[in-house]
């Protein structure tokens, strides 16, 4: 405990929840797909595919169960440029973005690495998934998206 200028005592503390979460077949298959560098969406009765796949159609609320594989490529729809912080998936300043995955309805919220240069981002910029070296069936197996024309 330390005293503030106001005379009140204060003390730092931290809370940890080391939980695991059961994911069910839809999210579970999606995560397992990421481990194999495969991207899945869920097909709706309306004839669309939603990625990442929800368990229920975001429009009709109907239960979704049919998973469809998608190319892990798409286009930037909207983004925000932020300073990199410890624990972020990209090593330089980057964007959080909504990515319209080819063939899917709606967008995928994920990190976008453009090598630290915000001027490279525009609406419609073609991007592809960058996979983590070691994949464990978790969301961060898809490390981030990056421009398709990145030199490899």
């Amino acid at each position: 405990m330390s005293a503030d200028v106001d005379g009140g005592l204060q003390a730092p503390y931290e809370i940890e929840f080391p939980f695991e979460r059961t994911v069910g077949p839809v999210v579970g298959t999606f995560l397992a797909g990421l481990r194999e560098k495969r991207l899945f969406g869920a097909r709706t009765e309306r004839g669309t595919v939603v990625c990442p796949p929800p368990e229920f159609d975001p429009v009709t609320g109907k239960e979704l169960s049919e998973l469809v594989e998608l190319e892990p490529v798409g286009a930037v729809e909207s983004w925000t440029w932020v300073r990199r912080r410890a624990g972020d998936p990209v090593d330089v300043d980057f964007a959080w973005a909504l990515i319209a995955v080819d063939g899917a309805e709606g967008t995928f919220f994920h990190a976008l690495d453009v090598g630290g240069d915000p001027a490279r981002i525009r609406r419609g910029l073609r991007v592809r998934a960058r996979w983590a070296e070691e994949r464990r069936g978790v969301l961060s197996d898809l490390r981030c998206f990056e421009p398709e024309d990145n030199d490899e």
Binding site: W79, W96, A111
Partner: protein, 358 residues
């Protein structure tokens, strides 16, 4: 429907960090001020309802602490929502509608300063499968929404800065404001981004404060208040939570809540003199103006709004208190209060208030 009105309110100063008081210590003076301003003895309060959020307080059932400032012994009728206290206001209004009593006291208390880093806490409130594991920046979804609003032409960075300048100028007359002052638009536009296109001042400053609103029904309200602010219509709706499944340039739930409130109120948002909008980011104001159908004659956030101070889980209730104050003071005939929860205006509450003809 019963006639129910706001008959009193009070608020503590919005502080970036109150290190002197515990929850009850912040709240007690505010409850005293609200009751003594009517005046009303607390024994006459039939129902107490509050809003707060454990993830900001860092303890489970943290709000129990605040009951020490309510006088919970002998036992009282009491309830709590784990969200903005505007929803506690809705619960109290419903409770009075059911005829369980005549007077309700609603409070919101939040201390956004207790988390050492909001980037740790905000992601925990997101979808646990597809968003929390990414641990996005606290303002990431709002920044993406602002980007979408700019691209679609709903607003411009210049307009966002104008909204901030107007809000902070208006806040100079608000003794509770956390930030206030005269700023030039160009000066604001020269500030660095925190989550582009959002600059620091585009993000409402999170802090610590408590807000109290007293509601009363029918003739009890008339006996307590010279000019009650009657709740003519109130409704809340929500959209889906995943930002990729929504069109972030729209807020259909705000639109629907306004339509529903209008249907019972008998007047529309376009007819109000003042509107207090729970915008957590400047770019959201033009979007809400569209969705609610506000007219050019309406004064928006004359208190300065949340851009002058966003006490966690009290910011929405403060909108209702400020809108009602406009009516109780005789300055406004009709007013709209809006509150939000979630990311990018996911959940919206609209309350239409009216004073008796002068």
């Amino acid at each position: 429907m019963r006639e129910i009105a706001v008959v009193g309110s009070a608020q503590s100063a919005c502080l970036a960090a109150n290190r002197r008081d515990d929850m009850a210590g912040i709240l007690l003076p505010v409850i005293r001020e609200a009751l003594s301003g009517i005046p009303l003895d607390r024994d006459r309060v039939d129902f107490v309802c509050s809003g707060s959020h454990d993830f900001h307080e860092g303890r489970t059932f943290a709000y129990i602490d605040s009951l020490d400032a309510v006088g919970a012994w002998p036992p009282i009728a009491e309830s709590h929502v784990e969200m903005d206290a505007a929803w506690a206001f809705y619960e109290a209004w419903s409770w009075l509608q059911l005829g369980h009593g005549d007077i309700a006291l609603v409070y919101g208390i939040g201390r956004g300063s207790l988390p050492r880093d909001l980037d740790q806490v905000v992601p925990t409130q997101l979808d646990p499968y597809y968003l929390t594991p990414l641990r996005p920046h606290r303002d990431a979804i709002a920044g993406i929404q602002a980007c979408a609003l700019l691209q679609s032409g709903v607003t411009t960075e210049h307009e966002m800065a104008r909204i901030v300048a107007r809000s902070l100028a208006d806040a100079q007359a608000n003794p509770h404001a956390q930030v206030a002052g005269e700023y030039e638009v160009d000066e604001l536009l020269a500030a660095p981004y925190v989550a582009a296109p959002l600059r620091g001042h585009d993000v409402s400053p999170v802090g610590d404060a408590a807000s109290v609103v007293v509601l009363a029904a029918g003739d009890v309200a008339r006996s307590l208040c010279e000019r009650p602010a009657w709740v003519r219509g109130i409704d809340h709706r929500m959209d889906g939570h995943y930002p990729g499944s929504r069109d972030l340039t729209r807020a259909p739930s705000a639109n629907l809540a306004a339509a529903r409130a209008t249907a019972t109120a008998g007047f529309a948002a376009s007819e109000v003199d003042i509107a207090e909008l729970h915008i957590e980011y400047s770019a959201q104001e033009p979007l809400l103006v569209r969705e609610l159908g506000l007219g050019a004659a309406t004064a928006i956030n004359p208190s300065g709004g949340p851009l002058a101070g966003r006490p966690t889980t009290a910011a929405g209730l403060i909108r209702i208190a400020e809108a009602a104050k406009g009516i109780r003071s005789g300055g406004a005939r009709r007013a709209l209060a809006h509150a939000t929860n979630g990311q990018a205006l996911q959940q919206n509450l609209v309350c239409l208030l009216e004073g008796d003809p002068a």
